[in-house]
Symmetry: C2
Subunit: 187 residues, 2 copies
DNA sequence: AGATCCGGCTAATGCCATTAGCTTTTGGGC
DNA sequence: GCCCAAAAGCTAATGGCATTAGCCGGATCT
């Protein structure tokens, strides 16, 4: 062992704080190193390269999101759980738009675990609707699409009209909860 | 005037083809210039900088998407129109995942027009449901969130399970069309 | 024909990621 | 208490990229 000043986790911490405060475009190894009080190349002792740092950051963001929605569904079921889950999802995005905006969806092992947890929480919440196996997968995809789509658009300031976003989201939540009662096939 | 070899539009064309073929990460002025058969700095005669090129590209992508969904809703109404619109949206994404992935949502004048057209088409399609004014805005946001969310996740290969994506999307379309009959407020 | 302007070019700057290779610190075994 | 191996830091160097400055040639208009 040696000086334990820095670590991969610590680098990710610093990077996340940087993105949170200055936006995704501010993420450079130089900026992270400066914040960590270290020369740029030193970061390579903890992280393979910028791409890996991004991936680790995404994993952490997915974990945080998973924590939030996991808490939200505790002790709730059916519409109540889905509403809480979606509300928690959006609350996370509103609190951390820059972080959410730098979440990337690319499939890599690191992220797989965190993403899987989010999916598992959703799938579990869908059991109250009688959705299992393939049906639960299809329904989960719809829920993710709705929540993520709204999140991305809101984080990117893609909704320009003056109407209250809370009301829009409330409608979306009701669309989803009602939609989970539809037959997964046919109609 | 002088040699009309290149133009802002032509540069955008080249850039879009580049992104389409090699992915969003391949977008550099150097690469665009190489494809255009020109030295890198020459591009600055047509485009202010990389950020503006990105913006122009986004505008074009939004236009293309607008064309597609505009065509799709022609001669249809209500569920039929919404289904056609959402199907056209996804078809565009599946055909052009890289282009769609480089669509950015940031609000700037160039993009405003193209984005507005997409929104207008949706709003118009919602009239069949009796949705007007604020209600139409809220409903439009939900539809955009659903379609865009699915599109982003699919383009980024965010859906890992083996289940057929067509079936998932069909469920999403039915969720939306059914959801458009919900009261916009309350429930 | 000549002035003008547009659109191209080369050269130069500065930031960034990444690599190589050296130095320092630290903790464990003697 | 001392030595050594490895971890973690550093400086220097490389190469790609965006961007700016300033020059040049040809097309257009008068």
């Amino acid at each position: 062992m040696a000086r334990a000043a820095l670590s991969a986790d610590a680098v990710v911490d610093v990077a996340l704080r940087l993105v949170d405060e200055e936006g995704p475009a501010a993420l450079t190894l130089a900026a992270v190193a400066a914040r960590a009080g270290v020369a740029t190349p030193s970061l390579y002792k903890h992280v393979r390269n910028l791409a890996e740092l991004r991936s680790l950051m995404s994993a952490r963001i997915a974990e945080e999101l998973g924590d939030r929605i996991g808490e939200a569904v505790l002790g709730r079921s059916a519409d109540d759980a889905i509403r809480a889950l979606m509300m928690a999802w959006r609350a996370y995005v509103v609190e951390n738009p820059n972080k959410y905006g730098s979440l990337d969806q690319s499939p890599d092992p690191q992220r797989a675990e965190a993403a899987k947890r989010v999916v598992d929480i959703i799938v579990a919440s869908l059991r109250a609707y009688g959705l299992e196996d393939s049906d639960a997968i299809h329904a989960t995809r719809c829920l993710r699409a709705a929540a993520h789509g709204f999140a991305v658009l809101e984080a990117a300031k893609g909704f320009q009209m003056a109407e209250d976003l809370d009301e829009s989201y409330d409608l979306l939540v009701r669309m989803v909860t009602a939609g989970l009662r539809l037959p997964v096939h046919g109609g």
